[in-house]
């Protein structure tokens, strides 16, 4: 069995499972935020209208909550949603609620690893499609909607069809100026935005093993954009060391069997990979950054669970140090802890001296909700994960997706730029 199959077998108390089996898996952790949380609460309130009653939830200690999409409160409705969420967590005894303006908070997927909320071998579900991100910790991590999260809160389990696993071997050595973002954009471009629909995407190979935890998280984060049920990487010393700095909780890692069956195996020679950009209006609509060189932009955005981890900010700072931006540039670290780390490392100074605005952690602009949306006709290059029509603002705005290095190099040039043609300091 693959790592995904073994985790799901264990969670459903079976000796083995095969792709296509439908199982009810015991959940180890469940997450909801200020969009899915009120959605889940709405499901319960509709359900209670039918004469039912939610007395207690299955296990408050396995539930965690964050405020990330509409903070700072975009308007009165958003402010009320946060209150609704707070009332719920208080009523049902959920203590791991990361609140905006009260110490550590940030984008849910970032907290999942920064705060070691999820451990190797666990089944983790969340009310957000990019829950896949956390599979980089060696866990089964999948996104669900409001009803499914409500079901988990009541029963501590959820149904899954055991996915086939597509194996991606990333071999060779990663060239300078190429990041995990370029690798995953290339893969999505190759297999398509439904290329992994209902399947698991597993990453292995010498490049995967050499990547930092944060870069691995970029790979799994965007498996969602290929339609995958989950993205996953078998845990190793990098995973264990990352966790050791953050938690002393015990865990039992799960590894795939030597003879595990994969539905497809892809091998990528990363030596030859160039910086990649996804053009509007699909993450699969890729081109080499160099081919798009000179494309005029109005804004550069460095933010989100995909592209504002500390490693992302360090790479962006390489290009912004001592330079001035030529277009509107925003940097939003993905969590309070990352913001503080960036400050201590001098990165925030670099961004601000370059002329960029540095803002609080939020999903706001990435999903076109608030905190810097695009006007009709505006063009943005962004470290985020989606560029559907209207994703970051007006339906006739355009978003190009790229790595933090490419976005920073483009911010300085005022147009899309291959970082190799504009060397860092």
């Amino acid at each position: 069995m693959t790592i995904t199959e073994k985790i799901l077998a264990r969670a459903s108390a079976k000796t083995s499972v095969s792709p296509g089996d439908v199982i009810f898996a015991k959940v180890d952790k469940v997450m909801m935020h200020d969009v899915s949380g009120p959605g889940v609460i709405k499901v319960f309130s509709e359900w209670e209208k039918k004469g039912k009653r939610l007395e207690r939830i299955w296990n408050p200690d396995r539930v965690w909550v964050t405020e990330d999409h509409f903070v700072p409160a975009a308007d009165r409705v958003s402010a009320e949603n946060v209150i609704t969420l707070s009332n719920f967590t208080k009523k049902y005894g959920i203590t791991r609620h990361f609140k905006y303006g009260m110490g550590q908070y940030g984008i849910c997927h970032t907290l999942s690893h920064e705060e070691a909320m999820v451990l190797p071998g666990e089944v983790y579900v969340g009310g957000d499609s990019h829950t896949n991100t956390t599979g980089a910790m060696g866990a089964f991590a999948a996104g669900l909607g409001h009803t499914d999260v409500a079901y988990v809160l009541m029963n501590g389990k959820i149904w899954f069809r055991v996915p086939e696993t597509m194996l991606f071997r990333l071999e060779g050595t990663k060239p300078d100026y190429v990041m995990a973002k370029d690798i995953i954009l290339k893969i999505i471009g190759d297999i398509g935005t439904d290329g992994a629909n209902y399947k698991a995407m597993q990453f292995t190979g010498s490049v995967t093993k050499s990547l930092s935890m944060e870069e691995r998280l970029t790979l799994t984060n965007m498996t969602t954009e290929a339609g995958a049920k989950n993205g996953i990487i078998e845990p190793d010393e990098t995973t264990y060391n990352y966790l050791a700095e953050r938690t002393d909780a015990a865990y039992t890692p799960v590894m795939g069997d030597q003879d595990a069956a994969y539905s497809e195996v892809f091998t990528y020679e990363i030596n030859r990979l160039e910086p990649i950009v996804a053009k509007p209006f699909s993450p699969g609509n890729i081109a080499a950054a160099r081919e798009l060189a000179g494309t005029e932009i109005d804004k550069a955005y460095i933010g989100s669970c995909t592209g504002a981890k500390i490693e992302d900010l360090r790479q962006a700072a390489r290009f912004l140090k001592g330079r001035k931006v030529k277009v509107r540039t925003e940097v939003l670290p993905a969590a309070q802890s990352i913001y503080m780390k960036a400050m201590k490392e001098g990165l925030i100074n670099i961004f601000m001296e370059a002329g960029a605005v540095v803002g609080p952690p939020t999903c706001g602009a990435c999903c076109g909700a608030h905190m810097g949306v695009l006007a009709k006709g505006e063009v943005c290059i962004s470290t985020t994960n989606r560029n559907f029509p209207g994703r970051m603002g007006h339906v006739e705005s355009q978003t190009y997706l790229a790595s933090p290095i490419v976005v920073a190099a483009s911010a300085v040039a005022g147009k899309i730029t291959d970082p190799r043609d504009a060397k860092a300091n």
Partner: protein, 168 residues
């Protein structure tokens, strides 16, 4: 919503693949949880007049990978609240499919590409869930539909996952 009944309605066709959740219900509306209010903005990114066109019991006919993108349950809620009863697509993105079924909002029905090609905007269809057959009353022809997997059929029969009793 029972899985064994016959459904009859008119078609709203958008012949494209990868209709994503940002198009079905754009990001700024994610803060809204009132079902009727969400319906007003259904498909706003593609056809701002959509909600006004739909009558109760109508069908949406689209291409592949419908509902790709976010996990927002607002998407099937908004569509079902306009009156859409079933969506005919060559394939669905996984979270959209789950949300439609588990929330008991509408039926995600997988059909062959040829069916999507043959069906026109405005056609009257009858969907027989017992025989897994779709009859085009306007064109007097029929198409097969992919039967729902066993568990999905049971959840539909129960009216959503919260009403479904799982036997260990």
């Amino acid at each position: 919503m029972k899985s064994k009944e016959k459904l009859k309605g008119r078609v709203h066709k958008y012949d494209r693949d990868n209709i994503d959740t940002d198009v079905i219900i754009p990001g700024p509306y994610l803060k809204i949880h009132d079902h009727a209010e969400l319906a007003k903005h259904a498909m706003e990114g593609l056809d701002p007049k959509f909600a006004q066109k739909v009558s109760k019991g109508d069908f949406l006919v689209v291409g592949s990978n419908f509902g790709c993108g976010s996990s927002r349950e607002h998407a099937p809620i908004a569509l079902s609240q306009t009156g859409i009863r079933a969506i005919l697509a060559t394939s669905f993105a996984r979270i959209f499919y789950r949300n439609a079924v588990d929330g008991g909002y509408l039926l995600p029905i997988e059909v062959e590409k040829s069916a999507v090609t043959r069906i026109s905007d405005g056609d009257e269809l009858e969907i027989d869930l017992e025989r897994n057959e779709i009859t085009n009353l306007t064109k007097s022809e029929s198409y097969p539909m992919k039967p729902f997997p066993e568990l999905v059929a049971k959840i539909i029969e129960a009216g959503g996952l919260l009403n479904y009793k799982h036997e260990e």
